[in-house]
Assembly symmetry: D2
Homo-oligomer: 281 residues x 4
Amino acid sequence: MIELGANRYGKAAIRLVRVTRGAHGHRLRDLTVAIALEGAFEAAHTDGDNSMVIATDTMKNTAYVFAKNHLDGSIEHYGQALAEHFLAAPQVDTATVNIRGHHWQPIDVAGRPAPDAFVRGGEGTRVATVTATRSGVTVEAGVEDLIVMKTTRSAFSGFPRDAYTTLTETDDRLMATKITAIWRYGAPDLDADATFAAVRASLLEVFADHDSASVQTSIWIMARAILERHQEIEEIRMVLPNLHHWLVDLAPFGLTNDREIYTPTTEPHGLIEATVRRGGA
Amino acid sequence: MIELGANRYGKAAIRLVRVTRGAHGHRLRDLTVAIALEGAFEAAHTDGDNSMVIATDTMKNTAYVFAKNHLDGSIEHYGQALAEHFLAAPQVDTATVNIRGHHWQPIDVAGRPAPDAFVRGGEGTRVATVTATRSGVTVEAGVEDLIVMKTTRSAFSGFPRDAYTTLTETDDRLMATKITAIWRYGAPDLDADATFAAVRASLLEVFADHDSASVQTSIWIMARAILERHQEIEEIRMVLPNLHHWLVDLAPFGLTNDREIYTPTTEPHGLIEATVRRGGA
Amino acid sequence: MIELGANRYGKAAIRLVRVTRGAHGHRLRDLTVAIALEGAFEAAHTDGDNSMVIATDTMKNTAYVFAKNHLDGSIEHYGQALAEHFLAAPQVDTATVNIRGHHWQPIDVAGRPAPDAFVRGGEGTRVATVTATRSGVTVEAGVEDLIVMKTTRSAFSGFPRDAYTTLTETDDRLMATKITAIWRYGAPDLDADATFAAVRASLLEVFADHDSASVQTSIWIMARAILERHQEIEEIRMVLPNLHHWLVDLAPFGLTNDREIYTPTTEPHGLIEATVRRGGA
Amino acid sequence: MIELGANRYGKAAIRLVRVTRGAHGHRLRDLTVAIALEGAFEAAHTDGDNSMVIATDTMKNTAYVFAKNHLDGSIEHYGQALAEHFLAAPQVDTATVNIRGHHWQPIDVAGRPAPDAFVRGGEGTRVATVTATRSGVTVEAGVEDLIVMKTTRSAFSGFPRDAYTTLTETDDRLMATKITAIWRYGAPDLDADATFAAVRASLLEVFADHDSASVQTSIWIMARAILERHQEIEEIRMVLPNLHHWLVDLAPFGLTNDREIYTPTTEPHGLIEATVRRGGA
């Protein structure tokens, strides 16, 4: 017997910009939204019966309408409004809304921010995922593609050596990575904009100001600090590629290279992932 | 109390080419390998103790050595050899090896395949993932980025309409998608090359030769056919974006457009995912 | 005094698909079109006067209308119709239409090509550029992203050595490249589809079947062969990155590596460009 | 007769990082370098004679050595040292060095910049191209991928209407673009770092603070301002895609949309290019 297992569907890569035209300047929001639904969709698969299938085109329209009516606050707030809207359909068990927020900042004109002109920038992309079920709402927030480097205070030694080991131990290497960090809030009601900014600043600060014995221990140190500083967070998951920078051998040219000239590489790269959370008792 | 949750680490994007120089021509293998380990790595995180941490550089070296010694057969066979090697380390509970195989075919010279010159091509990328634990070995195979289109025999109608619905029903639309299909074998011992080729051919054939009422039902029809035709497969997971092609409105130019001129788009796109499996009893 | 120099404008990345529904099967065309105009557009720049500026949105519409009316033959023919249309505006001196053709092939069903289902593939992307001026029409055709590899018959030696040279000479290396080849026809009237197929086959065949002393000499050998075999071509320009494949050092593991296991790399890469043409007298 | 036309070769995508470890903090340089040579390389093509061919691997080594010895100042200075080095080989007529500089800024720790930890960011990528010939050295500088948006003060009207025109005129649209601006200095001796910063600031400021009648006129206004403010620049070339943002039609949902909710798009896009220069007399 052949049966349907886990399934979900939705609309991804919905691009939208909202311009709020205030008396003292414009506010610019630039989002990429993805919506996914799970629920009683078996007949859609096995019988070609679309009577329960909210069209993904309808999801897109809804995202635009809600951008007009529910995007005055945080992207988490907007995501929750969207998720709860879709959950109101009886065939939906789980509605997940993922939002990526692209950062624009006002351009300086004669030392002042322009009211109506912006440059895209910022480091890393803000992300939020709201999941609504009959049991309640879960809010995750985070940052992706936050590229950082420590030029010292990073070591890697004491690892086991076998027949395939050639790496030399080092007590001072470059550590470069592209941080993905996603954290889950204990409750959906919070000042998500302020919390995001604070957590992002913590991440960067702890990254900068710790001694690393490995990427693994760097994740632990950053994640533990986030949980200690930000009580509203229950759990944080981090994914850190190790973007190796190799010292160039300048000896053939009669030169020393004391941690000065490096080749950055992306292939291959280490890839280190861990979740850190508040434990029981 | 703050504690370490799920974690894993490894080396990704290991690129390797093997050339086997036979009397009647060369065989070319071009792979991207990723290795990930789970196990007793808590001290690496919480204490900066690397004594159990197999260096990811060692993993890379091992991938190269095993490419010389264990890559005569399928990529699944090579992946299993690698995964079992890493599982032999007592601190490792789970070793996962993911391999993407890039396709090259001999160039035609005067109607014959060149023995030593190749053109990169093929449709889609072959993938294999071998997971080794103390309980045994799991082998998944599949294809990614297999881009296909049906120019008729695809409909979408009968879906519910709410205040946000503007999509018109259609009984004849283009259906274009980029198939990701990953299937799990019941047992690791099989002719993985022949099976892959047969499943891929089945996927394409059923995609071409069915009437689609929705992407959901297309997934079901393809997946069920795969399970019916290929008894060695226990489960198949498919991820299909709906890469919309919109009819261009040519009425302003005094022209009809009866399913002839379309605009392909990628943003936004539908995204449909489902697993189909052999059920109990 | 500050003045306007060379300038041009247009619409790029116009995506279009045309399905021709014949009795015995569908024909699928999938193109990306870019249109650029040069001419009497100074006032648009210096005075903000748009009275001569054909809107790029109009260009897009025109591309769709002409896809219905002028895309029965080659993309070169379609490009020429578009270019001549825009040249008919008196303010236009030069109209350039660049077209990239994406390849789809019918899916096999029970050994026969499906009439209405296709898989995207093919090696390399076909390109055509038609430039129309008051003096006439120029047609260039070519191929991009044609990735090829020779597993032997490629050497590189005899190069000069200075204080910065460490590369060893080799008489048997891998040569991998991603060919861009663009050729100019002597006259726009030709069977562009058949010629493209023949030239592409020649390129591959000569790539496969020559001994290479360098990428430079491979370009010369291929380009000369194209000009010798295809009299309708006046000139060919080739751009070949040298996608290095480095032999992995397996000696630390007690293994030899006689041209067997390689690491493919893309950063850095050699980059070799040359034009070869029919010369005077 | 078949002959060799224009040709050049070199090494591209040389990635390098230099860390200068000062008493009060580290300086981090992160560059991608491309080197290309033209000259007496005909025999390399036509005869497979490599005796004049400086290996591209040697170029890469040279880039690393010069990064140690000649990268204390601007990237333009480093590029000039490299270009003049290669020009010293008698077979070289033209040596071109292109450098892209990736921006990193110190991470804030408790309100102060960390001495040894950085985050990648900045808006746009700085580029420099130095071309050395027997006649002298030319230095171009610029910025790529500088993404900006005006939320008002941008119009497009008064364009001609033909049978294919459907675009409505607008006196208030979004204007979004990704600026590529490359300018040529009159002489290579200048404070290239300070000048780059000043020109980049001018570009942004003028972009923000002008009324646009079209992308064409925006280029002219920005370019003219650059030439007026920065006498060391002889010529500036700008390439601006018009990244359309379309107003979403919310009327079907009973809502007005007065320049508030937009869909950003990238396909198709306008593409506007112009050079502005100091003229004769």
